[in-house]
Amino acid sequence: MESWLAWARGPLFWAALAFLLLGLARHVFVVGWEVVRITRRAGDGRVPYRRLAKVTLAWLFPFGKLRNRALLGVTSLVFHIAIILVPLFLAGHIALWQRGLGLSWPAIPNALADVLAIVAVVGAALLVLQRAIAKDTRAVGRFQDYSLPLFIALPFAAGFLVMHPEWNPFPYELTLLVHVLSANVLLILIPVTKLSHAVLMPGSQLITEVAWHWPASAGSKVGITLGKEGEPV
């Protein structure tokens, strides 16, 4: 068990972290490259960056956007806050960074982390429940739309039990292994699943905008490629 744990916390973690960072960097690079390429060859390369930034910010901090589907909106918002804050600002995690790389930053109180971990787990369950109940979300839900929130809840549940051995019915080391392993798998899943919205979302308004910026003769070039340039309407 100990060697498993050492492997999961050591080589596997670094590999998963590298995969995550490289994967996310790939998304950022591809989008950035495409935006430059598109706006350079577009007939009209003027992009309303200021307006896009405003809309993007409004969605990054969507407190004004909760009226449409209030319950789902609030659940989702609280869930996101919890799963972003806890892994990054838990004192125990920061101590590991300190030990490994000598990096350190302010932590949130452990009591708050406890609450947020519970919020993450309950939030995930509520998200899945709401998806299953509402007719429209059920109609478009795929396997991953149910499994991913529940899988995200796993390291938070295990982490909470690690922090509170007195409530933990499972062996401490096993719980810690589940926590570390599931978190590592999650890091790997982020760039290759819909969780990639973690990094794509801030660029999504820009992506939609530039998709409407075509080269001046995009239409006729498509016609030429398809051999239809002289064809009647």
Partner: protein, 473 residues
């Protein structure tokens, strides 16, 4: 020449196209190479988290509650093809496990579904990830057009515009001039002034492109346009080489859209006009906003006639009678000019100035509901049942809730659709009109023939009495 394989008529040649899946994919590849859609498809296919907020913002889904009418459900039809044939992961998965293959039946399904979306883009405003389902509909329709699937009503109009008489309503220049002469006589009768529809004025500041159908169906709107230009001393002209702002290319093919826009700019350059003035037509305006895309950033700037009128009103160059438009008036924001928030306040400024009682619909401006006939579906008569009872039902309720007896809609398509929506939803007493139709009635021409001039009793526009009042309701 028609068939009803789909909910809309298509030409017989549609059924003669063979190897459609292969041709569809070839077109898809060409569009990805030459266009800019790839970046969006790639991001959408990857990151959509199926929160279905698009469903709760869609007026069609609100009415039908059918899974097929959830925007992402529809968009997924195309994203699935994209993923399978144009991403490494999809290609590898298909090689290893087989699975989805594009078929004729699948194309028929898309042909049906993508004409149930009016591309109003309301859902885009409600998507946390900025996914533009209107863009997907726009693209899917183009790809379908490349395998021959185009509603007959749309393709026939474009053919007439690009290869026939030169405009979608097939109005010859001689007939246009006759019509305008008749409108000039009408104007003289109403105002006592010699208000002109000027043709081919070299170097005019504005060259005017309305929806050409207005010359046949919405004469009051055009007379209003002419009257505003006259009293404000605007320099404007109609080009006899091209006088049609309609661009159905926006609804089914960027190839056609590009050609139609090019013709517009060519006419402006022939006349040497400085600016392009668009009439009361939503999609003509949005198409014209693509002019810099197709004709370069130095092409003539685009001004919408409502922007012009509002500017003149602000500058005090639009004299108004004392009497205002009677009754309760509301305003319908056409998606093509309002969704982006570009033209929302100007019409309200004008309406507040000229109406006794102006009320907004809820929701309004950029969040307004589509008339239900957007993206060309209004021109497809065989879709009327769908347009007025499914796509337009919420619009009818929205109008009903205002209690207005007049709806102002500065868009030829919206006007036709809203009249049918009102007819089919028990709102027969509601009058649908253009904004310039009302301006024509309230402009103070300073002549005695101009009815209601200097009216003492604030009832200067008796001709605007609504049907509801006429019926004593």
């Amino acid at each position: 020449m028609t068939t009803s394989k789909y909910s809309y008529y298509v030409e017989n040649r549609t059924l003669e196209v063979t190897e459609r899946p292969r041709k569809f994919l070839e077109a898809f590849a060409a569009v990805l190479e030459h266009g800019s859609y790839g970046i969006a498809l790639d991001a959408y296919a990857r990151m959509c988290s199926r929160c279905a907020r698009c469903a709760s913002s869609c007026q069609l889904y609100d009415t039908t509650e059918a899974a097929r009418d959830i925007p992402i459900h529809r968009s997924e039809l195309l994203l699935r093809v994209y993923r399978r044939y144009f991403t490494q992961g999809g290609l590898a998965k298909a090689r290893l496990f087989g699975g989805f293959e594009l078929s004729d039946e699948y194309l028929d399904l898309m042909a049906e579904e993508y004409y149930r979306c009016t591309a109003c883009r309301r859902c885009t405003r409600y998507c946390p990830l900025g996914i533009d389902h209107g863009l997907i509909t726009h693209l899917a329709r183009w790809l379908l057009a490349e395998v021959g699937v185009i509603p007959k009503a749309l393709v026939v109009s474009v053919r007439e515009q690009l290869e026939g008489v030169g405009n979608t309503s097939a109005i010859p220049v001689a007939a246009l001039k006759d019509t305008c002469e008749f409108l000039e006589e009408e104007l003289e009768e109403q105002t006592g002034l010699d208000i002109k529809f000027p043709f081919d004025v070299e170097g005019a500041e504005y060259i005017f492109f309305p929806a050409v159908s207005d010359y046949l169906l919405e004469a009051d709107t055009l007379m209003g346009n002419a009257a505003v230009m006259h009293v404000t001393g605007g320099s404007w002209t109609i080009g006899t080489g091209n006088f049609d702002g309609i661009n159905y290319g926006l609804f089914y093919s960027d190839r056609m859209m590009e050609r139609i826009v090019a013709n517009l700019v060519a006419e402006a350059r022939r006349i040497n006009a400085k600016k392009i003035l668009i009439g009361e037509c939503g999609h003509a305006t949005r198409s014209a906003w693509f002019i810099p895309t197709f004709a370069g950033q130095d092409s003539p700037p685009v001004v919408h006639c409502i922007q012009y009128a509002a500017q003149m009103l602000r500058e005090g160059k639009l004299p108004l009678k004392k009497g205002k438009i009677e009754g309760r008036v509301t305003y319908h924001d056409p998606c093509n000019i309002a969704r982006s928030g570009r033209i929302v306040e100007e019409p309200r400024e004008i309406l507040r100035a000229i109406c006794e009682e102006y009320v907004d619909m809820t929701p309004n401006r950029a969040d307004n509901y589509c008339c239900g006939g957007g993206s060309g579906t209004v021109s497809i008569d065989e879709l009327r049942e769908f347009r007025t009872h499914e796509a337009g039902k919420l619009k009818a309720e929205q109008i009903r809730a205002t209690g207005a007896n007049m709806v102002v809609a500065p868009c030829a398509n919206c006007k036709k659709q809203l009249r049918e929506v009102c007819e089919d939803n028990g709102l027969e007493s509601v009058q649908i009109t253009g904004l310039h139709d009302l301006l024509l009635k309230v402009i103070d021409f300073g002549t005695s023939a101009s009815s209601g001039e200097n009216a003492e009793d604030a009832k200067g526009a008796p001709e605007v009495t609504t049907e509801a009042e006429a019926k004593g309701e």
